[in-house]
């Protein structure tokens, strides 16, 4: 195997002929301006994560790392329950969160599996596998000045790694703190929703690996239907707190193509309670900026005209 690899690498590559420095420079300059035929739109897909069945096994994190060949982040004890991943990053595209909700006085009390509607749910674990939200109107997509961030044919937010130049506008604009610029290469990275697997008709690695079906993958409309039924079922079974986060648009934010079923406030899970798309203010900010400048120029011009000899 190894000798075969050496043999192959020694061969001249027909698709990648050797180039001089000048042609390499020209190629590098021209390359980002070349456009291929965009793929035809397919059925929009996404994730629906039911946090009530997550067991915090981190199989999704491992599967994501393995499939996408993401490097290790090292290991550090965070001191926050079993969460030693700490955050979504350029090299961690899935992050399993652990929330321990135990009342000190009741720490020894056993929790009944038949949860009654009026029982306080103080002694419980909440777990959630976090990921890019693949927003329909994604601030990162709006911010990206290179066009590296696109909505692909599955309506997933995708970063073209060969185009990104690491300007960090996407990092600044994401209200969920998902995108990070890598220290290796200086480009931004995040979940691709396993674009390569989807193109081959496979489900994303995390959803495939999830042993409890907490992570659902599929056409977004079907997922929403499935999630709403699950919420109704949980309400019937005595979990009135269950609700969907991001399945529909609000006044300040679009719907998410990766949405969640939660049973506590969003902020408890590290999600913004009321996400706001920064672009809501852009036109007003531009107007104020222009007026601010025009007033100054007008004042300068007035003084020049009034005092000129």
């Amino acid at each position: 195997m190894a000798s075969r690899e050496k043999e192959l690498s020694a061969l001249t590559q027909a698709s990648d002929p050797p180039r001089g420095r000048l042609s390499e420079l020209v190629g590098r300059l021209i390359y980002p301006f070349l456009r291929g035929e965009p793929p035809k739109p397919r059925t929009p897909t996404g994730f629906y994560t039911d946090t009530t069945v997550c067991i915090g096994c981190k199989a999704c994190e491992v599967a994501c790392k393995q499939w996408n060949q993401l490097p290790s982040d090292g290991f550090e004890w965070s001191g926050n329950s079993y969460d030693n991943t700490a955050e979504l990053s350029a090299t961690s595209w899935r992050h399993v969160k652990f929330i321990e909700q135990f009342s000190d006085g009741l720490s020894g009390t056993r929790v009944s599996l038949d949860v009654a509607p009026n029982e306080p749910d103080l002694n419980r674990w909440l777990m959630m596998s976090d990921v890019c939200k693949h927003c329909l109107a994604a601030p990162c997509h709006q911010a990206c000045p290179t066009g590296a961030i696109i909505h692909n044919e599955f309506q997933n937010v995708y970063i073209q790694a060969d185009i990104c130049n690491g300007c960090s506008c996407c990092v600044a604009s994401c209200p969920f703190g998902v995108i990070t610029r890598s220290s290796m290469g200086g480009h931004s990275h995040k979940c691709t929703l396993c674009y390569d697997r989807q193109r081959d008709g496979l489900e994303p690695a995390c959803a495939k690996a999830c042993p409890t079906q907490s992570i659902h993958f599929g056409p977004i409309d079907e997922l929403r239907e499935q999630a709403r039924k699950r919420v109704e079922e949980l309400h019937r079974r005595g979990v009135p707190q269950a609700y969907l986060y991001g399945d529909a648009a609000s006044q300040t934010y679009s719907e998410l193509h990766s949405f969640y079923l939660l049973v506590d406030r969003p902020s408890v899970y590290g999600l913004p309670d009321t996400p706001v798309n920064p672009w809501l203010h852009m036109m007003g900010d531009y107007a104020r900026s222009i007026v601010g400048g025009l007033v100054a120029i007008g004042a300068l011009l007035a003084v020049v005209f009034l005092l000129r000899p």
């Binding site: 969160k97 590290g270 601010g292 100054a296």
Partner: protein
């Protein structure tokens, strides 16, 4: 960026539980802070200095050519040098500086960075022409009509280059920055003020008494005018500052900014002194302007004080 953690999510139909004893990730930051820091504070200053100097010189020259042409011919090359340094900082701040030209593969009006990149790129062409032709004119090769044409052509992209910066810094999810509705107005207004100050310094240095007299009055008017967007910006940022700094710290920085950036330049200009006094006024203005930009850029990198 957590917002009010007691506010239910808009799609939450059933009542949410009240805050339990364990709030999970509620007190942890959600937003990722971009690596924009000192370089960006300098970029915001140099951007304003370059575009402002060009606009002030252009307005002066087009409004009163007899008075301002001589000083404008020096101002354009200076503005070009400032712009080149600024562009260098912008490129170096990228994660992959060799991919800077990728910014030019698309034009996205909805992306302030894209608008800014295109404005700066277009602006650099007439500015280079105006600067080059000004230098040639000093050497006796005069293409006056071409130089004036370059100045006129450069006005719009020059204004755009000044106007986009504040919008870029306010159109994002960063704490403080996202609330700075008047950042763009302040930066654009401040660019013209700084440009007027720089032109005042140049005209004083060149001994252009008529231009100096007019610019001194304009400088005073613009200094007073600039206090309006600055005040509104500080009102925008007050809740964030209150969270990050003590009252004493806020007052100390506020008084220092007001004194260095407005009162001292105003006082020195009213003194109507010579070269040193004019230069002192401009240097204090630039110092105050830099501190304001630095304090603003620092916000997402600052943690609330331990109580």
């Amino acid at each position: 960026m957590q917002g009010d953690s007691t506010t239910p999510h808009p799609f939450t139909k059933p009542p949410l539980p009240g805050g339990g004893p364990a709030s999970g990730y509620a007190n942890m930051p959600v937003i990722k802070v971009p690596g924009w820091y000192g370089t960006i504070a300098w970029d915001a200053l140099l951007n304003g200095m370059a575009t402002g100097l060009f606009m002030a010189a252009a307005v002066g020259e087009l409004g009163a050519p007899v008075v301002f042409t001589a000083v404008a011919k020096v101002a354009y090359p200076v503005a070009l040098v400032l712009l080149l340094v600024d562009l260098g900082l912008l490129v170096l701040d990228l994660g992959d500086p060799l991919r800077f030209h990728h910014m030019l593969r698309v034009f996205k009006p909805g992306s302030p960075m894209s608008v800014g990149t295109w404005c700066l790129t277009i602006f650099s062409l007439p500015l280079t022409a105006a600067a080059g032709l000004s230098v040639l004119a000093e050497l006796g090769i005069d293409f006056e009509w071409a130089r004036i044409l370059a100045v006129v052509v450069g006005l719009l992209p020059g204004f755009g280059s000044a106007a986009y910066k504040g919008v870029l810094l306010s159109t994002n999810a960063q704490p403080g920055w996202k609330d700075a509705r008047w950042m763009g107005a302040y930066l654009t207004n401040s660019a013209v003020l700084m440009g007027c100050g720089e032109l005042l310094g140049l005209s004083t240095l060149m001994g252009q008494t008529q231009a100096t007299g007019i610019l001194r009055t304009a400088f005073i008017v613009l200094l007073v005018l600039n206090m309006i967007p600055l005040g509104l910006l500080f009102a925008n940022l007050q809740p964030t500052h209150a969270r990050l700094y003590t009252w004493e710290q806020q007052w100390r920085v506020g008084v220092f900014i007001f004194a260095a950036g407005t009162l001292i330049p105003l006082g020195l200009t009213l003194l109507n002194g010579g070269l040193r006094v004019s230069f002192g006024a401009v240097i204090f203005l630039l110092l105050g302007s830099w501190i304001i930009r630095f304090v603003f850029v620092k916000i997402p990198h600052t943690s609330p004080p331990e109580i």
